[in-house]
Structure formats: C-alpha cells, structure tokens
C-alpha cells in the first residue's frame, strides 16, 4: 500500500530541472545511497555545488526537498517544532525536519557544523536503523516516512577546532566528496550559469585556480565556483572585467591588502 500523499508535498517538489553538471560519479553514488535510504554527508568547500546537487537529485528522484541552513542560533526546536500562541491557545507547529519526516521528503541540513552541538543530537535516532524522530515536547515518537532521507553538508576547511563534527555524528553518514570541478567542467558551469562565452569563462576559472594556489597564505578558502558565477553575472551586466573580478572574487575572499595586491596582479595579467 502506498503511503498517503501529504498535502504539503506538492509545494516542496522541484518542477523544473535545475542545471547540474556531474563532476565525478556523485549521481550514481547518491542514487545508490538513496535506494538504501542511507543518510548522506556532502563534504567540500563552500560554493562548489553541493546545494545545487541536492536540488538536482531531488528533481531526478521526484522527492520533495526541505532545506535548512544551519547557524549558531539554531535550536532543536527550530528543527522539530514548537508550541505557538494563537488566539489565546497554544498550537503545535511542525518544524522543517518534522515535516520532512512526515511527508517523506529529503531534508537537507546545510552547513551542519554551524548548528549547536546539542541540536545535532536530534538527528541521531533518525540516522540509525530506528529511523524515528523524537518530539519530546509532545511526547511523540514519529517513525519516518519510507521515502524520507537526511542529507547534511559539511565543509572541512579551516574551521575552528571547537566546531568540529563529533565522531558519533559523523559516523552515521555515507560521505560524498565534492571539490571544485576541473578546469573544463568548471568553465562550462560558469559559462552556463553566468551566461557568458566560454573563452571568458576559461579565464575566470584560470584566475580562480591561481588564487586557490595561495589559499594557505591566509585565505580561509579559495575562490569558489559561486564567486566566479557572480563575477560572470556582473560582466554580463556590462561591468568591466577587472572590476567585476575585484568586486565578486577578490574583495569577498579577504581583507588582507597584500593578498589583494597579488590577486589584482593576477587579474591584470589574465585579462
């Protein structure tokens, strides 16, 4: 017997195909994981396509997607739900995680390390063979819908050691490694998303590669694909290339003047 269709589902389905270019074998890996309903952890630097990938997979698998961006102030109740006051009454309102568990959606916790540690604990029973969500406030133990899947993303870059993910949490996921795509693919992506010609896109990607070479000199991270797309979009709006690169790539990366200077030199060389 198929599970009853939750009315919320429609609004969380992704209807138009998101643009996604496979960079390795992540699609088949993910499909396999989904088939066995194994929780997935996407590892990789920011802006390399993790979020886009999840959207794309949700589209391919025709499963609703609920995304939660994690931050320091994210409480368990922000995920599970809480009682709210409505017209003198207290009414329960499901949080995003609870909704996903009920309707059988993919729940994507973006940048999960950013969440407070006690928050991440609520996902534990969901990610082992119990597959349940404990709603303490209501005294309810909610079994997950058969289609439900939890995905988290995690950026193992230069983080604070205080924020490292606990082993007990880590070991509940299969991990897929993401990285910046190779030059050819990344150029295609930037050209497609930024709507610029491929030649210019190759140059932007070249610039990014050079900047990634000096990542350890004080940049917390290299220039991401996302920033390249921003630059491309500015260029598309007739902003001169040099300025677009500075605004979209260099300035966001660091405040260090020396590094800025090096990056400006590179821009002057390449364009």
């Amino acid at each position: 017997m198929p599970a009853p269709i939750h009315p919320d589902i429609i609004s969380h389905l992704i209807e138009t195909e998101p643009y996604y270019l496979e960079t390795g074998n992540e699609i088949s890996l993910f499909k396999a994981a989904y088939h066995s309903r194994l929780p997935v952890m996407l590892k990789g630097p920011t802006g390399c396509g993790k979020t886009r990938f999840v959207e794309y997979m949700a589209y391919l698998l025709k499963v609703p997607l609920i995304t939660v961006s994690c931050h320091e102030d994210l409480f368990a109740s922000d995920l599970i739900g809480r009682f709210l006051l409505k017209n003198d009454e207290t009414v329960w309102s499901d949080g995003p995680l609870t909704r996903a568990v009920r309707m059988g959606a993919i729940c994507y916790l973006d940048e999960v390390v950013e969440a407070r540690k006690d928050t991440t604990v609520v996902i534990h029973p969901l990610t082992d063979n119990r597959r349940t969500l404990v709603i303490e406030k209501k005294g309810e133990v909610l079994p997950a819908h058969p289609d439900f899947l939890l995905i988290v993303s995690y950026n193992p870059g230069y983080q604070s050691v205080l924020k490292d993910l606990k082993q007990s949490t880590r070991q509940r996921f299969v991990s897929i490694q993401f990285n910046y795509p190779d030059i050819e693919k990344e150029s295609q992506i930037v050209a497609a998303e930024g709507n610029i010609d491929i030649e210019l896109s190759v140059k932007l990607v070249n610039l990014a590669h050079k900047i990634r070479n000096i990542r350890e000199q004080g940049l917390t991270e290299g220039a991401s694909t996302r920033l390249l797309i921003y630059a491309a979009q500015l260029i598309q709006q007739n902003i001169p290339v040099t300025e677009a690169c500075k605004t979209a790539i260099c300035l966001p990366l660091t405040d260090d003047e020396n590094l800025q200077e090096t990056m400006n030199d590179l821009i002057a060389d390449i364009f």
Binding site: D73, S160, N213, E216, N258, I270
Partner: protein, 889 residues
C-alpha cells in the same frame, strides 16, 4: 734595517706596547719599503710627545702609507693635528674606522671622512660632547654600505657644518630610512632639512632624524629606488599563485653560478629567480616596482611553459634524427647545451634558439595572459631600442621575440620569412622542442644571410652545404670542419634586453642529481624495452622534490605506451627506487633529564619500530635578560590589539537573549506583561520567549616549537634570526592566552639521532606566567636536528592527561623533519603517523610553518587543512595569534 731595529728598541724602551706596535707596523710596510723612512720620521715625532700617541701612530699610519697617496697622508696628518688639540683620547676609535675603510681599498671615502673629522674637531664643544662624538661617529658610519658611503658621508659633512649637534640626528635618520635614498635624493632631503632647521630648529631636527611624520613622508615620497627586500614577499606570493610550483625570488648577489658582466637583470636556477638588490632605473618608484614585477613575470614564464624541460631526444625526433648525430663530450651539459653543440658556432645556435624561444613565450603569454604582454612588451621594446645592435640577428630578435617591425631592407624581407615560418611552426606545436626544429631549419640560412654580410667579406661566405638526399644528420657535421677551419669569422653574440640570454646550464646544475637519476632510469627501462623520455622523469622528480614513486612512474609509462601500441600495465617489480640510508649508531649518547622511549613508524617496513626513540625531557635553564619586556615593548601596538581581540574571546558564561517570538522558554516578565495587557484590552506583544546560550570555553593548547639549527638563519632585512622572531611570537602568545584564560603549555624540541631527542619544557600547564617562564623563553636557542615524530608523541603524552574538552597541539616549525636516518619520506611518514595517533586521541593537531614556501609535501605531513604557511617569519607574531584565534573561535 738599522733604523727599524733602532726604532723598535727605542720605542720598546719608552713602553713595551709601543715597541710591539712599531715592530708590527714595519712588518706591514715590507710590501712598501719606500714608505718606511716616512714612517720612521712620523713615529719618532709622535713618540717624542708621548708613548700613547706614538703607539696610535705606529698602529694607524701603515694603512695610510701603503696607499701611497700624498693627498691622503697630508690630510691625515692635518686631521690628527686638529684632533690632538681636543686630546689624544679622540684618536683611537675614529682612526680605527679609517683603517677599516683603507683596508677595504676605499680611499675616496677615507678622504671625505678625514675632512669630516677635521671639520668636526675644529669646532668648539665640551669634553663630554667630544667623547660622545668619538664613540658615535665610527659606529654610525660603520652602518653605511661601502658602495654608498662616500656621498653619504658628504651629506653628513653638510649637516655638521650647520650644527655639530645634528650629527647624531642625521645618523638616526639614516637608520630610520634615509639610507634608502639615492645620492641625489639624499642631498635634496638634507637641503630641505637644513632650511627647516634654520627656520625652526626643533622641527628641523625632527625632520632630519625622521622622527616627524613630515620627515617620514617626505623621505618615503622621494625614494624612487625600490629594494628587492621591499617587494620580495609580494613577488613570491605572485609566483606561488601564478605557477603553483616552488620557486621564489632572491638577491642576485646570492647566485652561485658565474654570470656575464655586466650581470643580467634576471636569471634563475629552477628554485630561485635572482633579481638585483635594488632597481633605480626610473625616477618614479612605481615604475621601478613595475620592472621587478615584469622581470619576475618573464622569468617565471620559462617554468610555466617548460623551457628547461627541453628534451634532446624529443627535439631530434622532431627533426627526423633518430640518434645523436655525433657523440659530444656531454658530461655536465644540459640537453639544450648539447643541442647547441651540434652546430659549428654554438653561440649562434644558442642565439637563434633564444630568439625562437622568446618568441614562443611571447605567443604563449599572449594566449594566456594578454595583460602581461600589455605590461611587458612596451618596456622590452623600449629597452631594445636603447641597446639596439643594428645587426640582422638583432632585428630578427626584435621581430620574433618583441613583435617589432623589421627595417625595410632585404634583411627585413628575410626576417619576415623567418617570422612566417616561426608563426606556422609554433601554431602547429607550441612545445619548446619546436624551437630546436626551427634552429635546425634556419641555422645555415641564418649563417649565410644574416651573419656574414657579403659586402663585408671579399670572399663569399662558406656555401651552404647541399643536403645529400635529405640527410639532415650530416649537414651540421660537414659544416663543422669548414666553420672552424676558416677562423676568420668572429661571431658577435646577440644583445638582449635586460641580459635575458637563455642559461640552461644554471637550472641544470640545480637539478643535476635528478637528471642523472632520470638518465639512469631511462636507460634501465630501455633495456627492458620500455620507452620514457628523460625530461618527463625529471619533471616528475622536480615536482615531488626528488621523490619518485613506482606508481607515478607506471602512470607515466602507461601514458606514453597508450600513444603507441602496447597499452598494458608495465611490470616494474624488478625496479628498486630507493637507496638504503646508512644508519648512524649512537647508542652511547649521554642523556640528562627524565628519559622516555617512543616507537617510530618505519615506512619501509610498514610497521612500528618499538622503543626506538629516546626522549629526554627537561626544563630549559632560564637566563636573566630583558628579552621579554623588550619584545612586548617592540610590539606595543600589536599587544594592545591582541589584548582587545582576546578579551572578546573570553566566555561570558550564560547569555540570555530576550524578546523572541519563539524560543525554548517563556520569559516570565514578558508573560506577566502579556496577561496585563490582555486584561487592559491592549494589543499584547508576542515577544514572550527567551533563548539561553551557554558559553563555555575549555581549551588547552600545547605549543611545540622546532628548535632546530635552521632557526639560527638570519631574517632578511633584520639582524634577528628566525628563532628570535619565534620567541617574540611566543611572548605575544603568552600575553594573549593569559587574557583569554586558556590553559597553555610551551615546549621546544631538537636533538641528534634517535637516541638524542631533547624535549625542552618552557612552560607547563599548571605554571603561572612568571619570571622563571619568561627567562626560559629568553634562553631558547637554535639546537640541532628535527626528529618530529618522537617530539609529537611526547607532547601528546603531556597533553593526554589534561582534562580540557578541547585539546590542541600547535606545532611551530621552519621546515621539514630531518635527522640522522630520519629523512624525506621516512621522516614525513613517521611524523604524519604521530599526528594521526594524536588525532585518534581526540587531540587536534595544527601546524604553522615559517620561512618556507608552500609545498604539497606539507599537506602530506600535516594533512591538507591542518597547516598554515607563513613564508615570511616576520609576520609570525601577528599571524600566530590570528591563527590561534580563528582555530578556537
């Protein structure tokens, strides 16, 4: 001979030390016997005044006399006379400095200096002032670089003529930055300063000593000379970003190879790009800066576009030659030089090759970095016009390498033909070997048409030897004899802007060892019927700093084989890649302190060697010194900033946030308000919740400092060593951690051999920051080698029992681990293993490496996201704390 004896005896009788000085003086003068009579007369005269003066003259006269310069001698006598009026005591120090100058052969400066002395000491001043001047002058002038001091002392003369008190201020000013000015600039600055001084003595003084902002700004603005040290960091960062391999810039003075005179503006050896210490070609600072950048960008193109990966075998294949045409004595020659050796006039082959290679680089740069071409080409073209040789070959260079128009003559027509050929060939294949092909094709033609113009020589030049049935091999051969036999032709080598002639021999020297291994390997493989190019193996080794793994080699062969027919996985099991290193037994090394034993990972065995490393653990004996306070003083501004930043890191306990529309708990008071409002029929606020955020910080950190010998290296532009700066960083680290209240511990390590690892405790977790600890920091000094694995294991022992929730081990090093029988991959593997062991105990290990350029090997050592590189150690004090803050925020 008699006078010498008499003088010696006489002076000895006056005072023994006088006698000794006289004897030594005569000895010195044996090289200039004709000056002895003068010496005799002068010391007699001086000795009659007293043995003290006699002795001074006996010591300081000979350096003057051996110069055999009358003007100098007269001026010397005159100056001494003037100084004597103030007292004999004024002579010793100033004259000693004079001797130093003269011993260095710097008569010009000596003359100016003597004039300065005579001018100063003919003025009126107190005994104290005079004493101070005698001490200060030689010390200050000693700081002036010999090549600049003549005109720098001249400016000092101008200043003291104005007012004797300005001498000291001038010397301060020099220290503070005036030394960076060129002759003209300094003179202009002093003129301004003196004018100011006349109007307002106080502000004039501050201006001259660069104490005032105006003085500083004026000096900085004037200074058009750019020094390598000012721009070195930026250039290195640029190189790192653009090419991504390990190459850095360095002063040309440090090059070990012979270079042409005048030296080129830039040359490189595969590890370093050598540049002049200073550039002052243009009158604007930024223009000179540009030159540094342009030269770096040009030179690095050789590495980006693989000029020095030139492979003779590939080149010969391209020309259709299957084996070397003849055996040249190829010992110690790079492939490129061997190639030049095929031609009768090597220099011509080299010049032609340079022309095409610079052309190739221009094309590639244009393709990948049009911006570089825009910046550089005009500069090169201008320089080419300046040094123009007006020879056909030079025009060819200008056309192909610099994209300039050739003259409208017959030669010009030839040149255009060459250019067309070049463009076509490079368009087909842009590898460096194409240039060799081009040289093969053009050499004879160039020799006949571009070198010896028919009009100059009555006899027609040696005819181009007919190719016998397209046999390319013999062509250069048969040519060789004739070229040499004639001997009439003198080839004038090509002049190239900034002296950038190709020097394949220099990078070859750097990587000769790799080249030899690559060659051997290539031959061994060949015996087994496997073909690889030598340059490909070498490239691999350079990229991996000399390591060669069987896997990578396999991949290389596989890739090659795929192009041909047999694409099967090669079997390399017969190949032994590593040499076994000799072990040094040191079983009977004395130890002090408590002894611990640790295992070590042997990557060859793929197993642990148990009880292998002996660590002796002890406290450093502190020494009393003002190092700690003076370091604080020096970094005053930074300390203030750090205190503030770390104050912010301090946990505030529980933080309660109110007025939330949602949250974990109701806010009691807001709830009361809510009910009251309801009752009063007012619109109640729905901000009823509070959020509680518990802040705690329970961090313990152990800072482990590598105290190996290399930390004794001097830091450029600074008389401090790497260790000195590391110690300053430690001082700031202690101050900061004291503010935030994290438990911390500092230890250093060094040693020799597996039984001699020393672990120096500087501060334990439970020790307070007191004078004992401060003195231990002062006492830290460079020791011996770096056996990092054992040190880390011992640090973990120390950290293991600390109860903190977050435990951090921060390793501060200046390079790779290295010790007796502890090298390269072995050392890296063991250290990495030790780090993994630490991580498995839930200890975070992070590393900071100073004074090293980035290397992929660091990733292998510490793990790719666990280390920071600070290539300039001077940035360490600031960066260490930033990193710590980021790690624990």
């Amino acid at each position: 001979m008699d006078t010498i004896e008499e003088d010696t005896i006489w002076s000895y009788s006056l005072e023994p030390s006088f006698g000794e000085a006289v004897a030594l003086g005569y000895d010195r003068l044996t090289t200039a016997p004709d000056t002895m009579s003068c010496y005799h007369a002068l010391i007699r005269k001086a000795g009659q005044t007293g043995p003290t003066l006699g002795k001074l003259m006996a010591v300081f006269l000979p350096p003057v006399l051996v110069c055999k310069n009358n003007r100098l001698l007269k001026l010397f006598e005159h100056t001494v006379e003037i100084m004597l009026k103030k007292g004999t005591y004024t002579l010793a120090a100033p004259l000693e400095f004079l001797s130093i100058m003269l011993d260095g052969g710097d008569i010009k400066s000596a003359l100016v200096y003597l004039r300065l002395l005579s001018e100063i000491f003919s003025q009126d001043f107190s005994y104290n002032q005079s004493l101070r001047l005698c001490y200060m002058l030689p010390k200050a002038l000693g700081q002036f670089p010999p090549e600049k001091r003549t005109w720098q002392i001249r400016q000092l003369r101008r200043v003291v003529r104005e007012d004797i008190r300005l001498a000291e201020l001038f010397s301060d000013g020099m220290k503070n930055g005036l030394c960076l000015l060129s002759q003209k600039e300094l003179s202009r600055f002093i003129t301004m300063g003196l004018t100011k001084f006349r109007l307002n003595p106080d502000s004039g003084k501050k201006f001259l000593s660069l104490e005032s902002k105006l003085g500083k700004d004026t000096c900085a603005e004037m200074q058009s000379t750019v020094f390598l040290s000012q721009i070195q960091q930026a250039l290195n960062r640029y190189l790192r970003a653009r090419i991504g391999i390990q190459i850095a810039v360095r002063s040309l003075a440090l090059i070990k190879h012979e270079v042409t005179a005048p030296p080129p503006m830039v040359v490189s050896d595969g590890k370093f790009i050598y540049l002049p210490d200073e550039i002052s070609i243009f009158s604007q600072k930024y223009e000179n800066m540009e030159i540094y950048k342009c030269l770096t960008k040009l030179e690095s193109a050789y590495y980006e576009f693989h000029t020095f990966d030139f492979d003779l075998e590939k080149a010969l294949e391209r020309a259709g030659i299957l084996s070397e045409p003849f055996e040249i004595d190829s010992q110690n020659l790079s492939d490129m030089e061997r190639f030049f050796g095929f031609f009768p006039i090597k220099k011509l082959a080299c010049d032609l090759f340079t022309i095409f290679e610079h052309g190739r680089i221009r094309v590639l740069l244009y393709r990948n970095y049009p911006g570089i071409i825009r910046q550089i080409l005009p500069l090169l073209q201008r320089e080419a016009v300046r040094i123009c040789q007006n020879t056909p070959l030079f025009h060819l260079y200008a056309r192909i390498a610099l994209d300039m128009r050739p003259p409208q003559t017959d030669i010009g027509k030839f040149i255009e033909e060459y250019a067309a050929l070049f463009e076509r060939k490079i368009g087909e294949d842009d590898s460096v070997e194409t240039c060799a092909e081009l040289v093969f094709e053009t050499y004879h033609h160039a020799f006949v048409n571009l070198i010896s113009e028919p009009s100059n020589s009555p006899n027609p030049p040696p005819p181009f030897p007919e190719r016998e049935g397209g046999d390319v091999i013999t062509a250069p051969l048969s040519f060789q004899g004739r070229g040499r036999g004639r001997g009439a032709l003198i080839y004038i080598p090509l002049n190239i802007p900034f002296g950038r002639i190709l020097r394949p021999d220099i990078p070859y020297q750097t990587f000769r060892e790799f080249e030899r291994i690559a060659e051997t390997l290539k031959n061994r493989l060949k015996e087994k019927g496997i073909h690889v190019y030598k340059s490909d193996i070498k490239k691999l080794m350079i990229r991996n700093s000399g390591r060669l793994s069987a896997d990578e080699l396999k991949e290389l062969i596989f890739r090659n084989a795929k192009d041909t027919e047999n694409a099967s996985e090669p079997d390399l099991s017969w190949l032994v890649l590593s040499d076994i290193q000799s072990e040094i037994a040191m079983d009977d090394l004395p130890v002090s302190g408590t002894v611990f034993w640790y295992r070590e990972w042997d990557s060859n065995l793929n197993d642990y060697l148990h009880q292998h490393v002996r660590v002796s653990d002890r406290f450093v004996d502190g020494i009393e010194s003002d190092f700690y306070p003076s370091a604080l003083q020096r970094h005053q501004g930074l300390v203030r900033k750090i205190r503030y930043a770390f104050e912010l890191l301090k946990p505030q306990g529980l933080v309660i946030l109110r007025n939330w529309t949602e949250g974990d708990e109701f806010d009691y008071r807001a709830l009361l308000d809510f009910v009251m409002d309801k009752k009063a029929k007012l619109m109640p606020s729905d901000r009823l919740y509070i959020k509680r955020i518990k802040q705690d910080r329970d961090v313990a950190v152990l800072l482990l400092v590598d105290m190996s010998r290399s930390t004794a290296n001097a830091v450029p532009g600074n008389d401090a060593s790497v260790m000195d700066i590391e110690k300053q960083a430690l001082v700031l680290f202690c101050e900061a951690l004291d503010v935030v209240g994290d438990a911390f511990c500092i230890a250093g390590f060094s040693g020799t051999g597996r039984l001699g690892l020393d672990y120096f405790r500087i501060k334990n977790f439970d020790e307070a920051m007191d004078n004992t600890v401060r003195n231990r920091i002062s006492a830290m000094s460079p020791q011996r080698s770096t056996r990092m694995g054992g040190a880390i294991r011992h640090a973990v022992t120390q950290l293991r029992h600390h109860p903190a929730k977050v435990r951090l081990l921060l390793v501060l090093g200046d390079g790779f681990p290295n010790d007796a029988d502890y090298k390269e991959q072995y050392a890296i593997d063991d250290t990495h293993k030790a780090i993994c062991e630490a991580r498995s105990e839930n200890i975070h290990v992070k590393a900071i490496t100073v004074n090293l350029d980035e290397s992929p090997m660091l990733d292998e050592l510490y793990g790719s996201v666990h280390h920071h590189v600070i290539s300039d150690v001077r940035e360490l004090p600031d960066k260490l704390l930033r990193i710590y803050r980021a790690l624990t925020r």
